[in-house]
């Protein structure tokens, strides 16, 4: 009896009764409903795209999407299997992968090295140079398209995938350097000094300390860069290279009713960055917070 009484007294501050719990849940519910509604709203086009992609072409325009639940279901994956036998699409996918992975690798490697140098190495003009890098952040990409197009033609690499990789790398680097430098500066100085005294050279410090400690920031830079370049249309279009975005765009122009190709292709193009994002989501959030708040 006495024990029960003290227990009630103890918890009365929280009032953790069933009624209170329901009340609390109710108080939170409006916000949760709102968030769920926004999420659903954002999902509508994606779901629509997916449904369209699994309908036979003949039905897309004539029948309602709910017919996929009819007996027998109209749903079919034949659109997808056709696509994977389409050399144009698989080629475009390869190009996209080559562009986005390639330029992301360049940006991460060069960005991390430069970020380390700007953060921890002493060299003349370091801070001015860094201010210059920050300044490059605001240069609009569109401004460089025509000059770069001409430069590439002069160099003889016009129209190659490499030219697009280099272009993306150049425009991704200022932000990568900026973010990584700011993150690396937050690594305690003592740790690096201690490593130097322990006999480590700069490369060892970079590989064994900076990279593992900077992993959240590096991962978030990588994801950013990957997503952005995967979805790019304008740069490849300008340089006459055909990744998936350009390929879909071309289908649209040639046959206005080629929805059975466009829908599944778009869905494939969408699912890869989504998977990458969810795979590295943990680092993404961590890195953004760590980089900015410190």
């Amino acid at each position: 009896m006495a024990a029960a009484a003290t227990e009630t007294a103890q918890f009365s501050g929280q009032r953790d009764t069933t009624a209170a719990r329901i009340l609390r849940a109710l108080a939170k519910t409006p916000l949760q409903i709102l968030l769920a509604a926004i999420g659903l709203l954002w999902l509508v086009p994606t779901i629509g795209l997916f449904i369209t992609s699994i309908l036979p072409q003949s039905s897309v325009t004539s029948l309602g999407w709910w017919k996929i639940f009819a007996h027998p279901s109209l749903a079919t994956f034949s659109n997808y299997s056709h696509l994977f036998h389409n050399a144009g699409l698989t080629g475009a996918l390869k190009t996209t992968a080559y562009i986005s992975v390639g330029n992301t690798l360049i940006v991460v490697i060069v960005g991390a090295l430069a970020g380390y140098a700007f953060a921890w190495l002493e060299f003349p003009g370091r801070d001015w140079l860094f201010i210059g890098v920050v300044g490059l952040l605001v240069v609009p990409l569109q401004m460089a398209l025509i000059p770069m197009f001409r430069l590439y033609n002069t160099l003889g690499i016009g129209g190659t995938t490499l030219s697009v990789v280099l272009f993306h790398a150049a425009f991704g680097l200022p932000f990568a350097i900026f973010l990584l430098r700011n993150f690396f500066v937050g690594i305690p100085k003592d740790i690096l000094e201690s490593a130097r005294i322990d006999g480590a050279n700069e490369l060892w410090i970079f590989l064994r300390l900076i990279l593992p400690l900077g992993l959240p920031a590096i991962a978030s830079v990588a994801i950013f860069q990957f997503l952005w370049t995967w979805n790019d249309l304008i740069v490849s279009l300008t340089f006459s290279v055909t990744p998936i975005t350009v390929w879909i765009f071309d289908q649209l122009r040639q046959f206005s009713s080629s929805i059975d190709v466009i829908a599944p292709a778009s869905f494939i193009s969408l699912i890869v960055p989504l998977a990458v994002f969810f795979a590295f989501q943990r680092y993404f959030v961590q890195g953004l917070l760590a980089g900015s708040v410190k």
Binding site: P188, D190, I191, E193, S194, I197, D198, L209
Partner: protein
């Protein structure tokens, strides 16, 4: 193993701050040298110059046979324990300790042998797999020590390694670090602002102030013969009482007048401080350590001309002893730059309670036996051990010893 020699080493930072000026100091092979001084006096800067983390503005620094001014940290063969411990947060305790050995591409077996040996010495065996964040402060401190000892370097450098521990652990680790250093016999430079740490740990102690070296000596010499007022006031706790006094001569023997009172000096005092004769009739600063004072009834053999009479202001019972603050009429506290700086230094116990004379005279602190009968507000008679008084020049603050007062005690 090697000696570390500073030869007129100075450091001026880019912003013009003169952190260390003309430091000359020989740290012998295997010696435990403590650099002590109030915060901001340049101890860390001096240590970082040895580590190669700070460029040397002028002078030469030798480790062993080599002048290392332009040798990078990694080639100096030294190990450093940082105040923050600077453990690598993503590595286990084992890998933290092994870091310096892996850099040197030592064989796996040798690394393992050394790491396990160090872990055993430091009692870290069961923590080897943990990450630093899962360790207590004391354990982190030990990992930092472990990282230093496995390297078997020419010298250890330690920058206030115990200052982040709580008081009890600090005392324990103090003893452990001392023991470890003695067992290994590695040359060590240890920086602290805590004079108790300095006195208990150091083979020799170097007292610094505003970038300058004031005195290097073994702890006892530092305590007995401080070269100046600053060292006298910095070493010892509670701090030395410093009051103005006049040197006089009565029937052939020297004495000092403190206010209206008279303290007879020993023959021994004069022979150990011949320079004092020259101060006859002049005002000097008299330093009396609290432990040289005793309530008269507990020291009945002290003759009446070696006693001071005062009024008790405050009585603090510590059980084992009594701290008694009393004023002596007609006296004045020494107020030189040194004294002011000492009072400002947060590490000094005097900072908590500014010794202010309440008009009638200077406030002195005495460390009396627990059975002393003193009451606040009542007069007290205090026996002074006049053999251990300290005398300082009122103008220069230098200690008054030999005919040539300029003795830095650099060699001991």
């Amino acid at each position: 193993m090697a000696e570390v020699v500073f030869d007129e080493v100075s450091k001026v930072y880019a912003d013009g701050t003169r952190a260390v000026s003309g430091l000359s100091l020989d740290v012998g092979d295997g010696e435990f040298m403590v650099l002590v001084g109030p915060s901001g006096c340049g101890k860390t800067t001096a240590l970082r110059m040895v580590a190669g983390l700070e460029e040397i503005s002028s002078g030469a620094l030798r480790i062993g046979e080599r002048v290392v001014n332009h040798v990078p940290s990694r080639d100096r063969d030294i190990a450093m324990v940082f105040q923050s411990y600077a453990l690598y947060p993503h590595l286990s305790v084992y890998d933290n300790i092994a870091f310096g050995l892996k850099v040197k591409k030592m064989s796996k077996q040798e690394i393992d042998r050394r790491v396990r040996n160090a872990a055993e010495i430091l009692g870290l065996e069961q923590f080897l797999k943990r990450k630093p964040r899962a360790l207590s402060g004391g354990q982190r401190q030990r990992v930092a020590m472990g990282r230093a000892i496995v390297r078997e370097p020419a010298a250890f450098l330690m920058d206030e390694p115990l200052s982040n521990l709580d008081a009890k652990l600090r005392v324990q680790m103090r003893a452990e670090v001392s023991r470890l250093q003695r067992d290994l016999g590695t040359t060590t430079i240890y920086v602290t602002h805590d004079q108790v740490e300095a006195m208990t740990m150091g083979d020799r102690v170097a007292v610094m102030r505003k970038g300058e070296l004031l005195q290097v000596a073994d702890p006892q010499t530092l305590y007995d013969r401080p070269v100046n007022l600053f060292v006298g006031g910095f070493i010892g706790s509670p701090a030395m009482n410093m009051i103005e006094a006049t040197v006089t001569r009565t029937n052939g023997a020297l004495a000092v007048d403190v206010g209206k009172q008279h303290l007879e000096l020993d023959e021994g005092t004069l022979s150990s401080r011949p320079a004092l004769r020259a101060y006859e009739g002049r005002t000097i600063i008299l330093g009396i350590r609290p432990e040289e004072l005793e309530e008269a009834s507990l020291a009945p053999e002290t003759p009446p001309d070696r006693r001071l009479r005062g009024v008790v202001e405050l009585r603090e019972a510590l059980g084992s002893e009594l701290m008694v603050h009393f004023t002596v009429e007609g006296t004045r506290e020494a107020l030189t730059e040194d004294v002011k700086e000492l009072a400002q230094d947060a590490g000094a116990p005097t900072a908590e309670r500014p010794r202010e004379s309440n008009g009638s005279g200077a406030l002195l602190v005495g460390r009396f036996g627990a059975r002393a009968s003193v009451e606040e507000g009542k007069p007290v008679e205090v026996a002074v051990d006049t053999r251990s008084l300290h005398f300082f020049d009122a103008e220069t603050s230098e200690g008054i010893y030999d005919a040539e007062p300029k003795e830095k005690g650099a060699s001991a």
